[in-house]
Symmetry: D2
Subunit: 347 residues, 4 copies
């Protein structure tokens, strides 16, 4: 049975698995990234982004984001992010741990997105040494609520960041979904729009483990390999982390996977949009549907075996679609939502 | 071509790969270890060790050891280890990073092994607050130089540790090789001998990624899941890390893999022991052969394409055997060593 | 000229200075707290609190609070505090630095005070490992806005804390002012009310440097001396930090100093309460007056040479009274406020 | 009674105390270093060093050295120092704590001094990411064993450091004693000899508390004020830390104090050099005398009330002279050493 709790419930996509198995079949390979597979993937990513970026592979998103942020600021600096950013809400203090104390300064903004004004307000609020000096803006693309920054929105924020000497980090755990949604070149929504570092998520796009940290400004990557090593994020048998990326990158499988997940979210939203008792909470732009449902309907859905996240007190539900979520599953969930809402209305 | 640089040059052993693929075929699975595979593996490890231990999976050995040590001591405490311990020589300050400053106090000892006397000397040397208070003894089993602590040797050290209120950590990156070498029950060489926490290596035993941290004293594991999460070591698609362990544990594949690697090292040692110019540096008890070779012989071996580690200045070489190192490869290396040493003697 | 910017603009009160000079006159003294003065002060504090507490001296409030919090929680735990708490707003990430990443979870509450409900809400909001586990409640007494928790208010919060296994820390940078305001025994508002650790401020009470960290639960102070040492907070010539406390504690000079500062704040509040254009922002319970003034009046006061803090955008001003603030100064400021507000009204 | 345990047993020298009292008499002063005294002292130090250096005051030597080192390297870098360096032996892991894990790489060298060869050997030993990249050389001037680097010795080391891209830190807890011993301009033994940062000790030179961190390369001081603040080393009533330096700097009191302490050490060495049973362990160049004494003589000296440090197992004793150590005290100690050694010889 498929679920909507998270896109990380899904498995290993076949195109990437093929490369994983090939990498295993190639006999002994040098460790720690000195293998031929890793070199190929890094080159492939440079080609994709059309720039001579520096690429590092780490095990998961907590580490990718935390290490990238730690590379951009010292312990007495601060990182500006949205109140709902994953680095603020769901990393158990990971960014603070890796940076040894950098504080996150949070701002609200509609649809889970930062605004240039909010960034500017946090930067200019104070300039005394009792307030950790803002040094980085962190954007989540796609956001935690399934929306997507347009190229112009990103540019507006990176412009403000530059004016104040801040660097720009992009948490791209669902970068593929955002690019697929915007239908732009990946360079246009990253370095050409002023992003310094991208944490490019592989896990939610069909890999078993592993994210890429992409530094568009190579100067920022100085000694980053040491940082990765010290922090326990250097895979000895690196090829098993890197080779599967070839499967994602070839024939734009990463975009195909993302487009499919996005399409499933759109389908689900369409199916439940008009259902009495259901209110869509955010525009559905990537692979998530956030909807308020009657509490009894939520219970009833759970009783039918569906797994998904809810938010305390309210009736907010998150339905996440993955690269392998089938149309049948979406239709089945939509049907159950309709039925459970109808029952809830009558009870 | 196979190499002797490290046992992490080898790939994914077939028995474990089977479970990896099964885990992928099981559809959507809850994330972060709440899947059925992870539960099974933990139970299997508890059965193996014949005790109700707490088990956590992390991505690599740096993290396993550093997190385990951080759980045993505060930043102002210290960890006693051998001068040659991996945590001291090859983690780029990982233990200090994860613990926020715990100092490693190093002691020498024959054959890469700590002695009770050396531990006691470090503990009792000073008792002022300018010296970080010793809190943990870390043993590497098998050691970095391919030797193995006997059960009695471990007991002697843990006894001293207990007398002084220290906890005992075992870096078991090559635990399998040690157990295979000693031919003892894994419980006898760990908790029954006084070990509190074992970092049980999977990567060098045939997995692509992933180590198990096994707390025999469950009290020490309090909130360890949070620590793992914050430090970027919690796999979202955990089943891909955990399920392959079933392949290792079933039918004692882990021991079979280790025994084979050990046997290859023994074979290599036998083949080169009497070669003029070759001096074995340490008893060959696990899967490593350390040998001094004439410098020209080393160069000649490299010119023939062999990869292995050497130590600066000296002519010391490390030849590491893996679970998949073939007898043919060993014979070929031995032959080349003989030839290169002979040439070196004549030049 | 005296100012109202901060109570740390004031100097060294004469009673304490006397002991400082005596300590200097006593010849060579053992370092790091092994001198006779430090022992005397610790005993004196135990007598004051009527309990066998553990006492440590550190250099300033940032360190006192950060070290105490670090002793109560691990990096993956969290500390609940008020949005306006100094540890959140004015320590440049100090608590996160000392604890290597413990996150502060902030709650609002009237008059700068936490409520039991707010604490409970934060503790029970989530129970997953992606959210740093709440482990400490931190109360500021007197608060950052010049209000004071009653004994009952503290008990209500510590009761909730105990129910959820949390420890209670009190930031007492202005503890003297709070005790003076409440007119209670210092034990009643600390350990008898459920407080585990008090950071007892000396600097704002008339010392040049130095705060006391008082552990009422001695178990929490285990190895704290090492923590202090490692963090650069152990004074070698400790007697110069500790001896002046004798001057504060003898004849209750600490309370006399605090009562005077409180009285000056009350006087100022009375003098300006009815002035047109002035709005008192919080009850004046300790030594601070927060008042909204017309912006032109603020500028005019500054032009007359007065120093005080204001808050961006609004017309909020903080007037802080010290142990040595004279009645004449208060009257002069009040007169100027009246005049400047009158001018502002006519312009 | 005066002692020889440490130069931090001494008190506050009168010239500095005068300024301390003046600073107290000047009424309210802005906090956190924005006072007029601090400005004056910083200018005075710039004049002393004849360069536009950046100056910060912190509370003690642990913090001064640890913060300076943390400013020069990241957590995955390493610091080269002598085996006997205070940062290695007596800071309870302080440097590792402040830097979040930077490892100290130690080298031996005669008379407690690093050599260019030893530095080079550590830098070039390895170049892989498993070894924390050397980034700083730390020199202790005067050394922990009472010797002093000549200008040429410093230059030789800083030259090697520069060649390898390393920065140079000087632990100058006893900088005054070194300058007095060498009789050179303080600039010649610091920035003109290639030193980037000096931790200039005040405490052992006659202050009650406080050290100056002097950055000769201002670029290295970027945002250092934030670092100081976050780490709990920013004094609110800064004038009490800074003003006393005026007393040290005026009329070269700092050198007079140091010369006196050095002279007392020389006197002691002369008095005991020929005593049977006594062996001087190091050249006496600053204010320390290290001497081996018969164990019974050590016990006898202690029985007569003398305090001094000894080293476990051996008969090594450290006799430290302070700015206020009197000739009478030295003669009395020398007499007792002679008597106790004589008794020891007969027993």
């Amino acid at each position: 049975m498929q679920h909507f709790a998270s896109d990380n419930y899904a498995g290993f996509c076949p195109e990437s698995l093929t490369y994983f198995l090939q990498a295993n079949g190639s006999g002994h390979e040098p460790a720690y990234g000195d293998d031929s597979w890793t070199q190929r993937v890094c080159d492939r990513l440079r080609a994709l982004f059309e720039t001579d970026c520096e690429v590092f592979f780490v095990f998961n998103g907590t580490a990718a984001n935390s290490l990238a942020l730690a590379a951009l600021c010292q312990s007495y600096h601060s990182v500006i992010c949205h109140t709902l950013a994953h680095i603020e809400t769901d990393e158990c203090g990971g960014p603070e741990f890796f940076s040894n104390g950098s504080k996150l300064l949070v701002a609200d903004g509609p649809h889970g997105k930062l605004t240039p004004e909010a960034v500017e307000a946090l930067v200019t609020r104070r300039a005394d040494i009792h307030y950790p000096k803002p040094k980085v803006v962190s954007l989540t693309q796609a956001t935690e609520v399934g929306t997507v920054y347009s190229v112009e929105e990103i540019q507006a924020i990176t412009t403000v960041a530059r004016q104040h000497g801040l660097r720009v980090h992009m948490d791209g755990a669902r970068f593929a979904n955002a690019v697929a949604a915007l239908d732009v070149h990946p360079a246009d929504v990253t370095w050409r729009a002023g992003v310094d570092v991208l944490c490019f998520g592989g896990t939610k796009n069909g890999l078993p483990v592993g994210e890429a940290v992409v530094f568009f400004d190579r100067a920022l990557a100085e000694d980053f390999a040491y940082r990765v090593k010290q922090a326990g994020q250097l895979a000895s048998k690196m090829r098993f982390i890197s080779a599967p990326w070839l499967g994602l990158l070839e024939h734009d499988v990463w975009l195909r996977n993302a487009r499919h997940a996005n399409a499933m979210a759109t389908l689900l939203a369409e199916r439940i949009a008009g259902v009495p008792g259901v209110r869509l909470m955010f525009p559905v732009q990537a692979n998530a549907v956030f909807a308020e449902l009657p509490l009894p309907a939520i219970d009833a859905l759970r009783a039918r075996g569906w797994k998904f996240y809810t938010f305390i007190g309210a009736g907010g539900c998150r339905f996440m679609c993955a690269w392998d979520t089938s149309e049948e599953t979406v239709e089945a969930l939509a049907r159950d939502i309709r039925e459970c809402c109808a029952s809830a209305a009558h009870s």
